[in-house]
């Protein structure tokens, strides 16, 4: 990767940006502007914005490190010129960070990217605010005060222009709900709302397209695919829609957190029957493996739990310790989830029932292993 050839000063700036930004920024296409291509000094940054990425090219000069970097914005944002235009708090802060550019201070690129992103958020808000659409004007006047809301124009070559809102939901910290939380970035659930632009008054406005989006790591706690969105009624606005959705989500998140406790108790209940688990996921309790013995047959039982436990039973997989394929891979059963189960059983009973089921099932598995190995 060309990133290795970045001069130390630029590399320090970039590393600080990647490891300290609350947004997960990606670096792409590190390349050189020098004649011999020796020192890389320009790269593309993918910066999250409004549930998508904006691609900006940052151009340094390896031979003149004291010169502040320059930025080429996306082709769609032709009229985004943060250095021109009205003076406001954001643009003053941006200009200050550029004017006294110090290449030796590795925090500067992070500061610049954030200031530029702030300016871009304002630019998109202004663009949408200038649209001649009564419904959008109303939505903007009612929801723009929500913290963290982002909005942008979406336009493609062969489709009508639309406006996308990204509304962060639940103002409580999800990270704090999980004990021993391993997430580095704050996890969030967003509602993406896409409005078609309606410029004539006569037509009845079509309902917006709604979708829930979450940060990627959240899925080990809670799957947003399981959430059923309430219907959008005619003549509804976001300020009406959001409270009901948030209440609904809040309940489901609380259930998801409670489900961690249920899983943990279940894994603990396995110990008296199977012995201490060989390994278990200590934070979200989504996986556990135990060792089992039936006569002279040794095998492992892997439990994987969905976020809907105990409503959904764990999926089991057996793995022999004594039978291997010709490549030396241990033989495994296919996933098993058709055994007797009731979410109403108490936890020790759940473990016992599985134990009883396995007493018979392991004989089938042993036979299957022996047959496979003989072939």
């Amino acid at each position: 990767m060309a990133a290795d050839t970045l001069p130390p000063l630029i590399a320090a700036q970039l590393n600080h940006l990647i490891s300290n930004s609350p947004h997960s920024i990606k670096v792409d296409q590190v390349r050189s502007g020098c004649k011999n291509g020796l020192y890389s000094d320009r790269f593309t940054l993918l910066i999250p914005f409004c549930l998508d990425f904006i691609k900006w090219d940052f151009i340094f000069n390896a031979l003149y490190p004291s010169v502040a970097p320059d930025v080429v914005f996306s082709p769609d944002d032709d009229d985004f010129c943060p250095l021109a235009g009205e003076e406001d708090d954001v643009s003053v802060a941006l200009k200050n960070s550029l004017v006294d550019w110090n290449s030796k201070d590795s925090t500067r690129l992070l500061e610049l990217v954030h200031k530029l992103r702030d300016a871009y958020v304002n630019y998109q808000r202004k663009r949408v605010g200038e649209l001649d659409d009564a419904r959008l004007k109303f939505e903007i006047s009612t929801v723009f005060s929500r913290e963290g809301i982002e909005v942008c124009m979406v336009s493609g070559a062969d489709k009508p222009e639309e406006v996308k809102f990204s509304v962060p939901l639940l103002d409580t910290s999800l990270n704090k709900l999980v004990i021993g939380c391993p997430w580095k970035n704050e996890q969030k659930i967003y509602l993406q709302v896409i409005f078609p632009i309606i410029r004539s008054y006569s037509s009845t406005p079509a309902a917006p397209r709604l979708k829930l989006v979450s940060t990627s790591e959240l899925k080990s706690l809670f799957s947003i695919e399981d959430v059923k969105l309430p219907p959008w009624l005619d003549g509804m606005c976001m300020a009406e829609y959001l409270p009901a959705l948030e209440d609904n989500l809040k309940m489901q998140v609380v259930e998801a957190v409670a489900s961690i406790g249920a899983r943990r108790r279940f894994i603990e209940a396995l110990a008296p029957l199977f012995g201490r688990p060989l390994e278990a996921d200590p934070v979200f309790c989504r996986k556990a493996t135990v060792v089992a013995v039936s006569g002279t047959f040794n095998f492992l039982v892997s439990f994987s739990f969905s976020t809907q436990f105990p409503k959904q039973q764990p999926t089991l997989a057996l793995q022999s310790c004594q039978h291997f394929t010709s490549q030396g891979v241990p033989l495994m059963s296919s996933p098993i989830n058709d055994y007797p189960w009731s979410p109403r059983w108490d936890t020790p009973q759940m473990a016992e029932r599985i134990f009883e089921f396995l007493v018979d099932e392991c004989l089938n598995f042993k036979k299957h292993c022996q047959d496979t190995q003989q072939v």
């Binding site: 004649k35 390896a62 031979l63 003149y64 010169v67 080429v72 250095l83 235009g85 200009k95």
Partner: protein
């Protein structure tokens, strides 16, 4: 209303001028920028129409005639793209018959779209550099953006360029570039060509003008002049005016052998001159690579 009209409808640039700019950019060690000089030329009026609208305003084309590259990038503007009006680079006297018409920026392996700072510089140049006339066409509004990349172990070089015009509203509008070359399509331009051979701009004041230098310096200056005269004389040696005089008049009978002799000597001299140019080019190249080494040290790359 008229103030909002972009000043130029078209930009044309003679092939050799564009080639010189491209060469400058591809030979530069990193990104480079500089000024463009040229003049405004009225375009022939559009085809008349039967519509009874307001008569179309006369349109102008910008002709780029020369460029001046800055010695280091971002030397005549600040990080916010504001022009430094006191910069000596900006006040460099242009070639007679042309004025500052815009600027150029060349950067390798980057998108061919104006960057944040390039927009600001173009606008600032347009707004802050006001030349003799209050006319918009006299303001430096042209922006030429160049990008180059090479691949296949430097076997293939790609040069791209786009031209823009700064509008009073603050936007940069793309304009088509026509390259003036030899050929029937360009007869008009060649008909209007006036040869100009300006002396290159040398920013240092000549030494002998220095009043504080005293006797010794002026003596040094005289010595320098005498030395340069000797070098010049050596080049013209054997081509004295008397000898050329013998080509006409009574001695013209030996015309053929005399011309042949002169021609032979001229070839020898040319060869000597070519060798000298080669030697000095080698020295320039050596100096340039020394400069780059120093620049690398300064940039903390070694």
């Amino acid at each position: 209303m008229a103030d909002d009209l972009p000043p130029f409808d078209k930009i044309s640039i003679p092939g050799p001028v564009l080639a010189a700019i491209l060469h400058r950019c591809s030979s530069s060690s990193g990104d480079s920028d500089g000024l463009l000089f040229g003049r405004a030329v009225p375009l022939p009026p559009r085809e008349p129409t039967d519509d009874l609208g307001p008569s179309p305003s006369p349109t102008l084309a910008a002709v780029v005639t020369s460029h001046l590259s800055s010695s280091s990038p971002a030397s005549f503007f600040d990080p916010l793209g504001r022009i430094d009006s006191n910069s000596s680079f900006l006040s460099s006297p242009p070639v007679p018959g042309s004025h500052l018409i815009g600027w150029f920026s060349a950067r390798r392996r980057s998108p061919l779209r104006p960057s944040m700072r390039e927009r600001a510089v173009s606008l600032s140049l347009f707004k802050s550099v006001i030349q003799d006339s209050a006319d918009f066409s006299a303001r430096p509004s042209v922006f030429l953006l160049l990008s180059s990349s090479e691949w296949g172990n430097q076997a293939v070089h790609t040069h791209d360029y786009r031209a823009f015009v700064a509008c009073p509203s603050g936007a940069l509008e793309p304009r088509s570039v026509s390259i003036v070359n030899v050929g029937p399509a360009f007869r008009g331009q060649y008909g209007a060509f006036t040869p100009e051979s300006p002396f290159p701009w040398i920013p240092m004041a000549p030494r002998w003008k220095d009043d504080d230098g005293g006797e010794r310096r002026s003596l040094n200056g005289l010595r320098q002049v005498a030395h340069e005269q000797r070098v010049l004389d050596a080049s013209a040696e054997g081509f004295g005016i008397e000898r050329l005089g013998s080509l006409v008049g009574d001695g013209a009978a030996e015309y053929t052998s005399e011309v042949e002799d002169l021609y032979k000597k001229m070839l020898v001299k040319l060869e000597g001159l070519a060798r000298k140019v080669e030697e000095s080019n080698v020295r320039v190249l050596e100096q340039e690579s020394r400069n780059i080494e120093l620049r690398k040290k300064l940039a903390g790359l070694d």
